[in-house]
């Protein structure tokens, strides 16, 4: 026990002080240390509050009991040790002379009604901290609590302005039964600006639905703009799935955002269905699960043949909903096998996944950035090769763009009604050729070949237009485009190609002997095993295809130090191969055709690599491109095309006019407010 401090004596003095406080205030427990509560009309005093039961310390017979610890502050221990306590410091701060306060604090003190002189009688019943923060005198004015707040003249003007802005007198929630205040009546004068603004907005947004004469604004492009590589990759990645693939589709939007995201969600689902892939629909929003089922029901209704309609738990799976927001999404990433076993109807799906790593693609359709954040944080780190394609509304687009620009595994965002239109146009262009009859034969019979291709008599797959610019790659989304692409400057013909003075491509000129014997610069793969053909001349870039020993590829160019060759693949793409793996050869066109035929003997080989070989890297400096592929004959193009597009264009035009009206309303409203403030200031100064 401390020799300088008598614990027992101190404990007894504390008890005495507490007893005195009890007797003087008439209260028990901790309330006896509190100051008298100001009596506000309609509010109970301290006695009206529920009383907390007192807890007594257990006393063990024979033991003296634990000593009480000294309180921080002005107790005996503090005074005897002559050290400044925290309470001393606080008291000193509270009792600073008014003259030492800076202007802002002094103005605040005066405005709050505190007199310059300190309270001469601090509340002594507050044990041990008697001079801490004396409460300011409360100015009471007739008319209730709100009117008791002292406002300066400038503040009163601001309150009046606020009343004008919100369109009516401010109502306290207590006076309205705790409900939200209703808007001012349509018959009140203050509601007039609001009504006029709304009427203008609705009128302008309605005009395109009434008449086509009000068609304002340009329609969105039929393809994503050149600078939107990530959106192009979004489409192409989804275009590269096949009938054996499952795609995780996260519906993270409720009915409130249906007007914005339904079109996009329908297009994405149709794209997946058209390629006979199967979506696994999940959501952390129970209503979104119901909504997803409704969208698929609408897609089914558009299919005229009842036998061809989609079947639940066979063509698509709506999995059980994920409760708990981020926790539910975490469960999906950790325990995907169990989540995939039960449908939203509580039935066994028969799916037998091991983990999330079995999937390659996840499509997130969300209305807010929080869901995107949850998916990026909880799912992406767990899905090793999972690419997240993000489709959002306008409100979530800014954050989605940051994720897409920064994270290798996030693609998109495709957002809003304009992107939905562009996506629909791309879908139309990709699948429309397949609807009446398989178009591949027709296109192969009558392509419009480039002059050099006609000259050397090469097959149409030898003379593709290699697109050096990545933005051009996305243009060859269909076989039609690839086959009819004219020879442009991007094809970079080598010196060994057909003579430039080749006559116009007529039928009589296609079989000239000189053209047939022309030689091309090619490379033959001499490595003992398969080699990677990459998108760029670096070993960390994406693998576009695999090359095998003996394969021949036309050389399109080389990098600066000659360590990589740029070659043409049989499917129209260009790729890069390391120079030490190949050997240069001068070959004729027929030899090259034979070598490439050998290279593409397995038609699915290159394609399989493109579908599954997502090679993600950290860092955003190298844009990622994926080439869209030709639809397969087994696809179901009707699912991509049979949709109601009657309202698409009027909605786009309504968006344009509505945006114009919104800008007008905002600008005029701000001008009016500024004008009113100016007039008030002038009148008050006068």
């Amino acid at each position: 026990m401390n020799e300088e401090f008598n614990w027992l004596e101190y404990s007894e003095s504390v008890e005495e002080t507490a007893t005195e406080a009890e007797e003087s205030s008439g209260r028990r427990g901790f309330r006896r240390f509190l100051p008298d509560r100001p009596k506000l009309p309609g509010l109970p005093g301290w006695a009206g509050l529920p009383r907390r039961p007192r807890l007594s310390r257990p006393r063990i017979p024979g033991l003296p009991g634990l000593p009480r610890l000294p309180r921080l502050g002005r107790g005996r221990g503090a005074s005897e040790s002559a050290q400044p306590s925290a309470s001393d410091l606080l008291g000193g701060q509270a009792n600073r002379p008014v003259e030492e306060l800076d202007d802002r604090l002094r103005a605040l003190r005066e405005r709050s009604g505190v007199s310059a002189a300190p309270d001469p009688a601090p509340n002594q019943s507050l044990f041990d901290v008697d001079e801490v923060l004396v409460s300011p005198a409360f100015q009471r004015k007739p008319g209730g609590v709100i009117s008791a707040v002292a406002l300066s003249k400038a503040q009163q003007q601001q309150v009046e302005m606020l009343k004008d802005i919100v369109g009516g007198p401010l109502q306290s929630q207590a006076g309205n039964g705790g409900r939200l205040p209703r808007p001012a009546s349509v018959f009140s004068l203050s509601a007039a600006p609001r009504l006029l603004g709304t009427a203008l907005l609705v009128l302008m947004a309605s005009l395109p639905f009434v008449s086509s004469d009000f068609a304002e604004g340009e329609l969105p492009p039929a393809d994503f703009h050149d600078d939107r590589h990530s959106a192009t990759s979004f489409y192409n990645l989804l275009d590269n799935i096949s009938g054996d693939d499952y795609v995780l589709v996260a519906f993270e939007y409720g009915p409130a955002a249906a007007g914005e995201l339904d079109l996009l969600a329908e297009l994405l689902l149709r794209h997946i269905f058209a390629q006979r892939a199967r979506p696994l629909i999940v959501s952390s929003n129970p209503i979104a699960v119901v909504h997803a089922r409704n969208i698929i029901r609408d897609i089914n209704r558009s299919i005229p043949d009842a036998d061809a309609r989609l079947t639940a738990d066979k063509d698509y799976y709506v999995l059980r909903y994920l409760p708990g927001g981020a926790l539910g999404i975490r469960e999906l990433s950790e325990n995907f096998a169990d989540v995939a076993r039960v449908s939203a109807r509580g039935q066994r799906t028969g799916l037998d996944f091991i983990s999330l790593q079995d999937l390659k693609l996840a499509v997130l359709i969300t209305e807010n950035s929080e869901d995107l954040r949850h998916w990026a944080e909880q799912v992406l780190p767990k899905g090793r090769n999972l690419a997240l394609l993000v489709a959002t509304g306008y409100a979530a687009q800014p954050l989605a763009q940051v994720y897409a620009d920064s994270l290798e595994k996030v693609f998109g965002p495709v957002y809003g009604i304009r992107d939905a239109y562009t996506y629909g146009e791309k879908l139309q262009a990709n699948f429309s050729g397949l609807l009446p009859s398989p178009p591949k034969q027709a296109l192969a019979v009558e392509p419009e070949p480039a002059p050099d291709a006609l000259a050397d008599g090469a097959a149409s797959d030898i003379a593709p237009a290699p697109q050096v610019e990545p933005s051009r790659e996305a243009e060859s989304t269909t076989l039609a485009l690839v086959a009819t692409l004219p020879a442009t400057a991007t094809s970079q013909p080598t010196a060994t190609t057909a003579p430039t003075d080749t006559p116009a491509p007529t039928a009589t000129n296609t079989a000239t002997p000189t053209a047939t014997e022309a030689t091309l610069l090619a490379v033959e793969i001499t490595a003992p095993q398969r080699v990677n053909l990459r998108r760029r001349p670096t070993t960390v870039d994406d693998i576009l295809a695999l090359g095998y020993p003996g394969d021949l590829y036309e050389v399109l160019g080389a990098n600066g130090d000659g360590s990589w060759y740029q070659i043409a693949l049989s499917n129209g793409l260009d790729a890069w191969v390391a120079a030490f793996l190949v050997e240069e050869r001068q070959v004729t066109a027929s030899e090259l055709a034979g070598g490439q035929a050998n290279a593409s003997a397995s038609p699915q080989r290159e394609r399989a690599v493109m579908r599954l070989g997502f090679n993600f890297r950290l860092g955003k400096n190298q844009p990622r491109y994926y080439q869209a592929l030709t639809p397969e004959t087994g696809d179901r193009p009707e699912l991509a095309l049979l949709r109601d597009r009657s309202l698409e264009i009027p909605r786009l035009q309504a968006m344009t006019l509505g945006t114009l009206a919104a800008v007008l309303v905002i600008v005029i409203g701000n001008l009016l407010v500024a004008l009113r403030a100016l007039l008030r200031r002038r009148s008050s100064s006068a």
């Binding site: 800076d102 202007d103 808007p183 001012a184 009546s185 349509v186 018959f187 509601a191 907005l201 609705v202 947004a205 639905f209 009434v210 009915p255 409130a256 249906a258 007007g259 914005e260 339904d262 129970p286 209503i287 699960v289 119901v290 059980r320 909903y321 981020a326 926790l327 096998a337 169990d338 039960v342 449908s343 939203a344 509580g346 066994r348 209305e367 990026a376 944080e377 909880q378 306008y394 409100a395 979530a396 800014p398 994720y403 620009d405 920064s406 994270l407 809003g416 009604i417 950290l618 860092g619 955003k620 400096n621 009657s646 309202l647 009027p650 909605r651 309504a654 968006m655 945006t659 919104a662």
Partner: protein
């Protein structure tokens, strides 16, 4: 017939929501609230149904038929999990009883603690570190990827000046009228501009969202009227 009925109900409900514009007019003023009450009630009902079918029903089936456990854990573990969850749910229902509130709070503490831990780990591994890494990454070829470098610089400057604007680094000064240096004020203005621009962009995006939804509803009304 059923489709027409649903479309008619949708049409009427849409008009009821639009009645909010008319304000506090007798009778009409309540139409908006009725529509919202219907929406909330339907949402609650569907949530209950989806939760029962997707979450509770599989466990009930598991109990009845032990041979078809729907998880990898097996029937016994499923039943244990189910009854643990049921117990936790019942404890949460004790919230109105003040003397037993500590039981409810214990369950909520578990949920909140697990949620906070999951959120923290996710934020670090999924957002903070990857975004930081992407932001500070310097392009291999600066001349070829100049826009990426500019993006990174803008993000860095925006983040730093934004933090500076909130003057976490400014100490309280006793002198009246003490001001920051010109450089400090300039940085604060830049941070303020970055914040205002970001908020303006978000506000504009939200307006576009509202407009999209409005045009969809207007289109629906005209389609139904036609």
């Amino acid at each position: 017939m059923a489709e027409n009925t649903i479309a008619l109900i949708s049409f009427v409900l849409t008009l009821m929501v639009f009645s909010y514009l008319l304000g506090d007019v007798p009778l009409v003023g309540n139409l908006y609230r009725i529509a919202v009450y219907i929406f909330i009630g339907m949402t609650a009902a569907f949530t209950l149904i989806v939760s029962y079918e997707g979450l509770i029903l599989p466990y009930l089936q598991d109990i009845q038929d032990p041979a078809t456990s729907w998880t990898l854990l097996g029937n016994r573990v499923d039943i244990t999990i189910f009854f643990t969850a049921l117990l936790f749910g019942l404890l949460i229902l004790l919230k109105p009883f003040k003397s037993l509130t500590w039981l409810t709070n214990s369950v909520l503490a578990v949920v909140i603690a697990v949620g906070a831990a999951v959120g923290l780990v996710g934020a670090l591994t999924g957002t903070l570190f990857p975004l930081l890494q992407a932001t500070v990454a310097i392009p291999e070829d600066v001349t070829a990827d100049f826009s990426a470098l500019v993006d990174s610089l803008l993000i860095f400057v925006g983040a730093m000046t934004g933090l500076y604007y909130f003057h976490y680094q400014v100490r309280a000064k006793a002198e009246v009228g003490a001001e920051q240096s010109r450089v400090g004020r300039g940085l604060r203005h830049i941070g303020k501009a970055v914040l205002v621009t970001a908020l303006g962009a978000i506000y504009a995006s939200t307006i576009l969202t509202c407009l999209t939804i409005l045009t969809e509803r207007i289109g629906f009304l005209f389609q139904f009227g036609a």
